[in-house]
């Protein structure tokens, strides 16, 4: 849901529409990696 919210107002240009879906997936992956990183 946070990833959807973060990209909600994106206005892609002719050739960079892929960044919207890529951004959503990258946010999810980055948060998953953050949660599983570190010792605490």
């Amino acid at each position: 849901v946070a990833a959807e919210a973060a990209l909600k107002d994106a206005k892609p240009l002719e050739h960079n529409g892929y960044k919207v879906e890529l951004g959503k997936r990258a946010i999810v992956l980055a948060l998953q990696q953050a949660l599983t990183s570190g010792a605490a």
Binding site: N16, L22, L35
Partner: protein, 278 residues
């Protein structure tokens, strides 16, 4: 390369005075972006004031967090024990950028000052409002695969390409600046870079002649739960198509605080208002 006057500054005050007295003068630190741009006639300063000898490379703890000298090298910053232990997100972001050789030369202040990698900005045969205000934007109707999806204008669709600033934004950094009046001020990283609007030639909110002297970050509880994800066309030595700086503060199974900053999607590191509220 266009001819230019060169001088080596012996102190910050004289460096600021010299640059502020000449509208086409600029500071030279690591030079890893500026010199390339000068070779391509994209940047044509009449005068370079070399600040690389100034005493602005210290990385030290402060009562509230950490201060990182503007002239500390990217490599030394990323590998500093205080950064690795307390701000690993910053270390990851820096090490995701450029190459080892470039990081050995590049400074933290220069990293913030690096210019867009828009192909139309680099190609002086093409129109570019950032390089030549009023000439038009080649990318708006051209090849814009690497360009912005947030905050652009009809004058410029370029992105800020750096990695370090995305992490700094997530970590509430401020940029300490020496002004032309000799006084220092700070700008939150969030407000350091700017959207293009009608003046895309201005990448950030520095006034001409102002000098970055340090970057400061408060203490945080993100060290154990943070990650920098960079998506690019090849595994190393490439600018991001998109990047995410993610930092979490957790307590048991509860997320107390979350930061998500997107890189290479706008003219500045981007944190959407909706995601801030989420």
């Amino acid at each position: 390369m266009q001819s230019f006057k060169y001088s080596s500054a012996t102190d910050a005050a004289s460096a600021v005075r010299t640059v502020s007295a000449n509208q086409t003068a600029t500071f030279l630190a690591g030079g890893t972006n500026l010199i390339d741009l000068m070779k391509e006639y994209v940047e044509r300063p009449s005068e370079l004031v070399d600040i690389s000898g100034l005493n602005l490379a210290e990385i030290r703890s402060t009562s509230n967090g950490i201060s990182i000298g503007a002239l500390a090298k990217n490599t030394d910053t990323a590998n500093h024990p205080l950064i690795r232990q307390n701000y690993p997100l910053l270390s990851m972001a820096i090490l995701a950028g450029a190459s080892a050789q470039l990081r050995n030369m590049a400074t933290n202040g220069g990293n913030l000052m690096q210019r867009t990698r828009c192909q139309y900005f680099y190609d002086i045969a093409m129109p570019c409002n950032k390089r030549e205000p009023g000439s038009g934007c080649g990318a708006l109707q051209g090849l814009n695969r690497i360009h912005a999806i947030f905050g652009y204008s009809d004058k410029c669709v370029a992105t800020y390409p750096g990695d370090m600033a995305n992490a700094l934004y997530a970590l509430d950094a401020v940029v300490r600046i020496r002004g032309t009046n000799g006084q220092e001020r700070t700008i939150p990283l969030e407000d350091f870079h700017r959207l293009p609007g009608n003046t895309p030639e201005k990448d950030n909110n520095l006034q001409h002649g102002e000098l970055i002297v340090a970057i400061e970050m408060p203490k945080n509880n993100f060290a154990n739960k943070s990650y920098y994800l960079k998506v690019r066309d090849r595994a190393s030595y490439a600018f991001a198509l998109l990047a995410v700086a993610a930092a979490l503060e957790t307590s048991g199974n509860t997320i107390k605080q979350a930061r998500v900053v997107l890189g290479s999607v706008a003219h500045k590191p981007w944190r959407s208002p909706e995601a801030k509220e989420f």
